[in-house]
Structures are given as structure tokens and as C-alpha cells.
């Protein structure tokens, strides 16, 4: 599906619709350039999965994990360049029993688990974003 959203709130609501279809163990890749709304999208999905506190950017720490009713992992590979098996071992605990969202998945190379849904966000103008979701989840 491909939708144009008119506000961060609309992007969050769209993400919540996707989240309703996800199960622990699922991985969602979230791509798009700086400011495209990746963290906004993940926030909307995390809220729908029961995360109540702030869902902020994990760029510096690389990973955040939220122990909600459905645990949520939020990874950001922006600062990572290519992953080898050893480094993958560092990230693997984030995926355990969680719905995992991965920003900048292209930096993860072949090591990321196959994505259940592939989300791509793009700029239309300052408020509008084009959101594409590829999955077999019937969205």
C-alpha cells in the first residue's frame, strides 16, 4: 500500500494499523532519509503495542528496547556501517520475543532477519509524507 499522510499524527495512526497485525518475532524495516518520519512511524506502532513512555530516536545508542505487553525493539543503524557475525551478536538480544523496528536497515547488510513488513517514507513537502508499506499482512 502507498499513502500520503498530512501530519505526524496521521503517520502514527498508519503505523498503529500495521502494528495491530504484528507478532513477537516480527521485524519491520523502516527506510527514508533524514527527517522523513521514521522515528514518528515507529512511535505510532510502539504506542499501539502498549509502550507508554517517550519513544525517542536511538541514533546514538543504536538500540532501545521497551518492555511493553508486546516487547518492542527500536534499532537505528544510522551510525553503523556494515555488520559482521560478531556485531550481529551485539544486536541479536534486541530481537528476542519482540516486535523489532529497524531504521537504516540498508546499513545492516545480509545479517538482519527477513522483514515481515518493509516501510519506506519519503518527503512530499514540509508536512506531507509518502508512506509505502510492503508486506503480506493484508494491509
Amino acid at each position: 500500500m502507498e499513502v500520503v499522510t498530512a501530519s505526524p499524527e496521521e503517520t502514527e495512526r498508519l503505523a498503529a494499523r500495521l502494528a495491530a497485525l504484528l507478532e513477537p518475532g516480527d521485524v519491520v524495516s523502516v527506510s527514508g532519509e533524514l527527517g522523513a518520519g521514521k522515528t514518528t512511524f515507529v512511535r505510532g506502532a510502539a504506542r499501539a503495542l502498549g509502550v507508554s513512555g517517550p519513544v525517542s530516536s536511538p541514533t546514538f545508542t543504536i538500540g532501545h528496547r521497551y518492555e511493553a505487553p508486546t516487547p518492542v525493539a527500536h534499532l537505528d543503524l544510522y551510525r553503523v556501517q556494515g555488520i559482521d557475525p560478531e556485531e550481529w551478536g551485539d544486536l541479536e538480544p534486541y530481537f528476542d520475543d519482540a516486535v523489532a523496528f529497524v531504521e537504516w536497515p540498508e546499513h545492516g547488510g545480509d545479517w538482519l532477519p527477513a522483514a515481515r513488513a518493509v516501510v519506506t517514507l519519503g518527503h512530499v513537502d514540509e508536512t506531507h509524507r509518502i508512506v509505502r508499506i510492503d508486506s503480506d499482512l493484508g494491509l
Binding site: S56, S57, F60, T61, G63, I83, Y94, E126
Partner: protein, 311 residues
């Protein structure tokens, strides 16, 4: 004396601090040089680098000093990176039959203010601004803090780094913007200061505003306006931070974290207590300092201690 160990993000650090807050040694092996070469991108996840550096860094910090307690950052941070420090701390404490103190990295930043000669006494309101965190804290006693507000999206330091990237500047972005901003006009562009309720912060809209401004400029004009853009962007970040601090009405203010190095922020909060620059960025002296006011786990009860990615 307390040995502190810190490996939660990019820095591998160890330090020895006395019970009354004198720094005996403070060793930081920074990966900033490595990052600069790759434009702020970590060529590998940090924990392997931590693993290579942890033993020599601890050895250099200890340098024959007798410590009676080991303190280590146990949360929050990248799990693999935290585990390198936690495992080293456990092994060292266990071998010497010493107590271990697990420390919250954010409490560590605040406790940088309790080191001598600053030795700041609560109560105060603390702005903690770094690459990974931006928070406003109410500090009533040295053993802890209460969170008044936090960033809802990007951290202030991250806003500096991503802004620097959009402007085609080097890494670390905060320093690059700070230097360039001195040659620019901070009123040239009116970047928005996010209006979010309460004492929380938001910087992602600002980043997007810069992106659109940069995108709309012809390349030759971008080069000519870069200093103005840096100055205006920095002004917006600093204004957002200062407005929140002022909204607390606090008479006593302190600033910690890497963004405390920013010259405009320092000038905008002239009465704030500031730790020396070397203690603003991640270090282990602050972790040992926090351990002076945190719960000790006696030998050998800490062997099952785990690292936690979240606070």
C-alpha cells in the same frame, strides 16, 4: 577509593575517584577519531572495540592505586557495549572480593557535578544534554534525581550532529557548528522552536526545517550562507534548551552532558554550574562519583548482575 568503568556508548573509560570526590585518574579511550574518519558513522558496532580497549584502559586508570569498590555503568546503553564493562567490573571485583556498584549512566552525568573542585550541592535543576539524551532533572539529593522533562524525539546532541551532516560539515557535528556559527548571523533564518507541552523537548521538526531550507538553496548560495545557517540553527537549539530551563523557575541550575561544551549554551546560562569539559562528555570519573551515593552490592552477590538497554 572507587574504580569506575564506563562502556555504555562509544567511549571506553576507567577512572579512580576518592570517597570525597577527588579524581585520582581519569582515562578515556575515545572512538571520536575513528568516527571523524567515517563522518560520524561507526564502522563497526562498538563492543569489539570496547573489548580491545577495556583491559589497558583499566590498567592505566588503576596504575597501582588500591581501590575498595568497583562501579560500572549498567544502564542504559547498547547491550553488547554495556556487557563489556559489566563483565570486566564483575571479574575484577570478584577476584579482589570487592563490592560492586551498578550505576545509571544518567545519574553518572549528574554526579560529574559532585567531583572536586566543583562539588556542587543539591538542590538544583539539571539540564542533561548529550548525543543520546536530553532531559531536565530535579535534583534534591545526591543519590538520585526526578525527571521533569525529556526529548520526545531527537536528543540535542543528535540535532547538532544531523544538522552538521545536512550542512556538509564534519564530525563531531556539535563542535563544527559551534565554530562555524561564530562567523554567521543567528538571526538570518528563523528556525522553529518546537512547542510541546510541559517541560519536554522536541528537535526533529527543527532538523526537518533545516533540511528544507538547505534543499531550497542553490549550491553556490548554500556555500555562502552556511555560517548563517549554522548560527541560526544553533540559536534555535540553544533557545529551546534555555526556554525549558527558565520555565522551571529554578534559581540554581546546572548543565551536564556533551552539549554543555557548546559556547552559545554556556553564554546563555551564565549562572549555571558547569563541569569541566572533560567531565561533560562520557567518562568513568562521573560513574565512580555516582557510586559514592548509590547502593553497593556486596561480594559475591553481583555475579548475576545484568546490563539493561533501557533506563
Amino acid at each position: 577509593m572507587i574504580l569506575g568503568i564506563e562502556t555504555s556508548c562509544d567511549e571506553t573509560a576507567a577512572a579512580v575517584v576518592t570517597r570525597d570526590g577527588e579524581i585520582v585518574s581519569n582515562v578515556v579511550a575515545s572512538q571520536a577519531e575513528l568516527h571523524a574518519r567515517f563522518g560520524g558513522v561507526v564502522p563497526e558496532v562498538a563492543s569489539r572495540r570496547h573489548l580491545e580497549l577495556i583491559a589497558p584502559v583499566i590498567e592505566e586508570a588503576l596504575d597501582g592505586h588500591e581501590v575498595d569498590t568497583v562501579a560500572v555503568t549498567s544502564r542504559p546503553g547498547l547491550i553488547g557495549a554495556l556487557l563489556v564493562g559489566v563483565s570486566a567490573a564483575k571479574a575484577l571485583a570478584w577476584a579482589r572480593r570487592l563490592p560492586l556498584v551498578p550505576v545509571d549512566h544518567l545519574h553518572g552525568h549528574v554526579a560529574s557535578l559532585y567531583l572536586k573542585p566543583l562539588d556542587r550541592q543539591p538542590p538544583f535543576t539539571c539540564l542533561l544534554a548529550s548525543g543520546g539524551h536530553t532531559m531536565l532533572l530535579d535534583v534534591q539529593e545526591r543519590g538520585g534525581y526526578r525527571v521533569l522533562g525529556t526529548t520526545l524525539d531527537d536528543a540535542a546532541g543528535e540535532a547538532f550532529d544531523k544538522g552538521a551532516r545536512l550542512l556538509g560539515l564534519g564530525y563531531p557535528g556539535g563542535r563544527e557548528i559551534d565554530l562555524l556559527a561564530r562567523q554567521g548571523d543567528p538571526t538570518a533564518y528563523d528556525f522553529p522552536v518546537a512547542r510541546v507541552p510541559g517541560l519536554d523537548f522536541s528537535f526533529s521538526g527543527l532538523k526537518t526545517a533545516l533540511l528544507y531550507t538547505v534543499r531550497d538553496l542553490p549550491p553556490d548560495e548554500l556555500a555562502a550562507r552556511r555560517a548563517d545557517l549554522a548560527a541560526s540553527y544553533q540559536r534555535a537549539i540553544v533557545r529551546a534548551l534555555v526556554e525549558r530551563v527558565e520555565a522551571t523557575g529554578a534559581a540554581r541550575v546546572a548543565v551536564v552532558g556533551g552539549v554543555a561544551a557548546n559556547s552559545e549554551l554556556r553564554a546563555s546560562l551564565p549562572d549555571a554550574a558547569l563541569a569541566p569539559l572533560a567531565l561533560c562528555t562520557d567518562n568513568a570519573a562521573m560513574i565512580a562519583s555516582a557510586a559514592r551515593y548509590a547502593e553497593h552490592v556486596p561480594y559475591p552477590d553481583y555475579l548475576s548482575l545484568d546490563a539493561r538497554p533501557s533506563a
